[in-house]
Symmetry: C2
Subunit: 139 residues, 2 copies
DNA sequence: TTCCTTATTGCAAGTAGTTGCAATAAGTAT
DNA sequence: ATACTTATTGCAACTACTTGCAATAAGGAA
């Protein structure tokens, strides 16, 4: 069994299909463990799936993020990165050295709740990225 | 006096220069009032500055955001938008209809403080965008 | 004013990401 | 097994954005 198998039933229940391309992209994300840009996903996955094209990668990543199977996060410079859904969390990125740390979702949970009450919006538990200077770069 | 004049001294103090291109781009942002994508800024500014090129627009917007003269925000679909710095605020965007509302900076201020204490990072008061469904689209 | 330094621009060529549409193939039903 | 529906893919052309480098011009000094 390859490592995207666990998703097959969940996809079918919602009328979606599992394909070799999706399986391979899930495999790449799983192996990477962390964040990967669309380009990185394309390059790594193509090794196992030589026929794979860029539009398919972009569409698959968007599909996975839209349906909750992966998280998308904006990190510096307008770039989007993806990772498999695990614990919800947020990121702090140092503008100078690029060092990234994760922050538990609970830190923002009360704000989310407050905002939902005051605005009526139902918010995604999305992957927020905050920028600043890490302790080492503040001098 | 054109409307970027107020920035001239602040730029000179830091070794930067004011140029007709920068002036025109500031004018465009000022007139728009709200968010504008790089492409929109390019198209609108070019009417007044026919020689203007795309790389200049992208670099100018990045420059303005980097130095605190403008704010950059990621809104849906990986797009970056810019606006002139005024009050710090955040955005809530409806994934379905695109309706956007602003949220005061103070809502997130306590979280920022808490994060700065627990992580040691010095955070930018950045422009965070949260996604969700607005009251009308929740049915 | 004129000269000088160098920040900023424009050009040109590059990379990244998107879109429409016809062809393919996943999964269901027969 | 076979046929059918339609989600998904690949292709090709397009738009968005970036980068290196030489030319230009802003702003300070002589």
């Amino acid at each position: 069994m390859t490592c995207g198998s666990y998703l097959i039933d969940r996809l079918h229940q919602r009328g979606f299909r599992m394909t070799p391309q999706r399986m391979a992209i899930l495999h790449t994300l799983r192996r990477a463990g962390g964040h990967l840009s669309a380009t990185e996903v394309f390059e790594r996955t193509r090794r196992a799936q030589p026929g794979l094209t860029e539009p398919t990668v972009y569409r698959t990543l968007e599909f996975l993020a839209e349906n909750g199977y992966a998280l998308a996060a904006h990190i510096g410079g307008g770039k989007l990165v993806y990772e498999l859904t695990e614990e919800n969390h947020h990121h702090l990125i140092c503008k100078k050295c690029g060092k990234t740390i994760s922050v538990e979702y609970t830190v923002l949970a009360s704000v989310y709740e407050q905002l939902q009450l005051s605005t009526g919006y139902k918010l995604d538990s999305s992957h927020v990225t905050l920028f600043g200077l890490c302790p080492d770069c503040q001098t």
